[in-house]
């Protein structure tokens, strides 16, 4: 597959590495990647070790599974226990621990929890099980929200009355704006490529123009990321922050207006709780009144257990870039991909999972890898 190889060429990577070093000229810079897919690609391609001394990449709240609070998992668990309900969910959510249970544990106990690859599968599940109620656990950012909006419109058109969504969707820009005012001094954001394909580049403008933080919308291959970092370093060095698009083969400045229109037709913004960060104004999506009958939270009034947080887990601080996963006392010890305590280890795109899988094989190596 030539198309892939071109984005991983060692020669081109070497040139970009030099460009980054030249642009930074020894000045310390901290960049945050906001998307979980970036986190994984950075780790998988060993990007950190190609950067000059003083340049730091930190992971942000860009994995939807990770920022979903315990309360939402508990709500999904309560729905799974409700007679007559089939839970349809993306695979990553199954293992995420809630306060006292998880969808995986509920499935093991005999409740109906089905993993689907898309909302099309969830709709099919509803069509094939007319005597049951199918509830889709809607977790995701602007990338998935339009597809879920489309499924609700399809259900309406087909008069499919046994399909509903527990909407835990979040939108990215408000969280990024909050991080601009947070504890970590960020020089630049590697903005999420897929989210931006939907929303375009304008939602990041306040971050660049009012907060003076460089923004580059980047692709996901190794060279995409190196080139994005070079663009960020040049912006910071030049003292000129703006929104640039590196991922031009996919992202247009205006985004995907049809997808945005679909999302806006079905959802409206609402204040929403992010794990570890707390309530962020207008950062969630809830169904508009015209579609409320497809809101599982409205359709099935269930009692949700009291929220408990796992002791010792620092996912909240990892999600804000304050802590490195390896600073967590549980990392690689009590918290492993097989037996995760926090969501950043569960999700295949979580910062802890990335750090565990691609950087360090044993805790004893940490010091050495840090220094390297």
């Amino acid at each position: 597959m030539k198309y892939i190889d071109e984005f991983r060429s060692g020669k081109a990577a070497g040139r970009l590495k030099e460009e980054i070093a030249a642009a930074a000229a020894g000045r310390p810079m901290t960049f945050m990647e906001v998307c979980g897919t970036h986190t994984m690609s950075i780790a998988r391609n060993g990007i950190r070790e190609m950067l000059p001394a003083g340049m730091r990449l930190i992971s942000g709240p860009g994995c939807p599974v990770c920022v979903t609070p315990n309360g939402t998992i508990d709500h999904a668990v309560a729905l799974a226990r409700h007679p007559g309900i089939i839970i349809a969910t993306f695979g990553d959510m199954v293992k995420v621990p809630g306060s006292t249970s998880s969808l995986g544990q509920e499935r093991a106990a005999g409740r109906s929890v089905r993993v689907v690859a898309s909302t099309l599968d969830a709709l099919e599940l509803a069509r094939n099980n007319p005597e049951m109620q199918v509830v889709f656990i809607g977790v995701g950012f602007e990338t998935t929200a339009p597809t879920i909006a489309a499924s609700i419109i399809t259900a309406e058109q087909e008069n499919l009355n046994n399909y509903s969504v527990l909407s835990a969707h979040k939108v990215v820009p408000p969280a990024m704006e909050l991080l601009c005012r947070g504890r970590v001094a960020i020089d630049g954001f590697l903005c999420p490529g897929h989210v931006s394909a939907v929303i375009g580049s304008s939602p990041y403008r306040p971050i660049a123009e009012e907060h003076g933080i460089a923004c580059v919308i980047g692709g996901f291959e190794g060279l995409d990321i190196l080139q994005s970092i070079a663009m960020l370093a040049r912006q910071v060095a030049g003292g000129d922050s703006r929104v640039e698009i590196q991922y031009r083969r996919v992202v247009r400045p205006e985004g995907n207006p049809a997808a945005v229109a679909l999302m806006e037709k079905v959802f409206r913004p609402v204040d929403s709780v992010w794990r570890g960060i707390g309530m962020i104004t207008a950062s969630g999506l809830v169904m508009r009144d015209a579609y409320r009958r497809y809101d599982a939270a409205v359709r099935f009034p269930v009692t949700v257990e009291e929220t408990k947080e796992a002791a010792g887990c620092i996912c909240g601080s990892v999600l804000q870039g304050i802590s490195d996963p390896r600073e967590c006392p549980l990392f690689g010890d009590g918290c492993l991909p097989e037996t995760p305590v926090g969501p950043c280890m569960v999700s295949s795109e979580g910062a802890c999972a990335a750090a565990f899988r691609y950087r360090v094989s044993r805790r004893a190596d940490i010091g050495q890898m840090h220094d390297a």
């Binding site: 991983r8 391609n45 094989s361």
Partner: protein
């Protein structure tokens, strides 16, 4: 007259059980050991010590591009013996069938086992069949066990990897896992990826013939190449450096992995082995491997270092280096 589907009576030990044996298993597999129809098969001793292994197979789907559960059940056990440096000779096969399983499919699977056993020059000498009620098992599960004889004076074990050894991979990785993934319902891939499932005992015999300097052989099954290399590195307390650009991956596997979010280094193989051998023997070894049906694409893709760290380090295509960890988290269910 046989029924068209397996019934509980086929596993009951009575008339239908006997009919299944006489009309299906014996005509296909029949050999002088099996035809003894005793409670145990009595087989000949070998020159070296006996190597003995067993493996269970629950792959879903049962028929997949490039193979089926029958071929897999024979190859899995043959390969476990072969990579120990043993010469595989005898296999057992136990079948757990779900009530209602089509006899035509069972026949196809048993034929495939026979063809694969013939290819590997092993004999299925004993077997058993049980039937469980519908829903108590999913279609068909097979367990095989195998006996092979060691070639005296050819010690091969993971703990013997030695600094300076070349790391050899016998063929493109990730084909079995991606064949299963892409053939499962709903993915609708236009190009088929064929599983690499194959018996490797001729390949290993040819390798052992050409040099006595093979220190390790392992088949890279569940957890893929990365996991096997980690096991070797940790057992031998050495480090292994793998060059990403030298690891053979077919375009179809690479594309499917990109699309589905898998790393081919972690995807299961059923006909690929990894060997560590003295660097000065590697050239001749590679040549011998490339002369074999299942070794034509063999390459040197890394080396054993001398740091003693027990780690595998990947030199990425981009020119960076990172730790290549064992497979952690979820594996693909029912891949073999």
């Amino acid at each position: 007259m046989m029924h068209e589907n397996i019934t509980l009576a086929h596993g009951g030990g009575g008339r239908l059980s006997r009919q299944l044996t006489e009309e299906l298993f014996l005509p296909i597999l029949g050999n002088r050991y099996l035809l003894q129809l005793n409670d145990s098969a009595v087989v000949e001793p070998g020159e070296g010590a006996a190597a003995f292994t067993t493996d269970a197979f629950v792959v879903d789907p049962v028929f997949f591009p490039g193979g089926d559960i029958g071929r897999l059940a024979v190859c899995g056990t043959v390969n476990d013996l072969a990579v120990m440096g043993a010469l595989p000779r005898y296999l057992s096969a136990a079948f757990i069938l779900e009530e209602g399983y089509p006899l035509a499919d069972l026949r196809r699977i048993v034929r495939s086992m026979k063809d694969t056993a013939d290819e590997a020059e092993v004999t299925i000498v004993t077997g058993d069949t049980k039937v469980v009620p519908r829903g108590a098992a999913d279609s068909i599960f097979i367990t095989t066990a195998g006996i092979g004889y060691m070639n005296p004076g050819m010690p091969v074990s993971a703990g013997r990897a030695h600094p300076g050894d070349a790391v050899i991979i016998s063929g493109p990785v990730g084909r079995h896992g991606m064949a299963i993934m892409t053939s499962r319902e709903g993915l609708g891939f236009s190009s088929t990826i064929e599983s690499d499932v194959a018996p490797l005992n001729r390949l290993t015999a040819a390798m052992l013939e050409v040099t006595g300097d093979i220190h390790v052989m392992r088949d890279a099954t569940r957890g893929g190449l990365a996991t096997v290399l980690n096991e070797i590195a940790s057992q031998a307390a050495c480090d292994i450096i793998l060059e990403e650009r030298s690891v053979p991956v077919t375009e179809a596997v690479r594309g499917a992995c990109e699309l589905l979010g898998f790393d081919p280094l972690y995807v299961a193989n059923e006909g690929v082995l990894v060997a560590c051998a003295a660097a000065d023997a590697a050239g001749a070894l590679l040549e011998a491997m490339r002369g074999q049906t299942y070794g034509t694409e063999a390459v040197i893709a890394g080396r054993v270092g001398n740091s003693g760290s027990g780690r595998v380090v990947l030199e990425t295509e981009m020119g960076s280096r990172r730790v290549l960890d064992m497979l952690s988290g979820e594996q693909l269910p029912r891949i073999c």
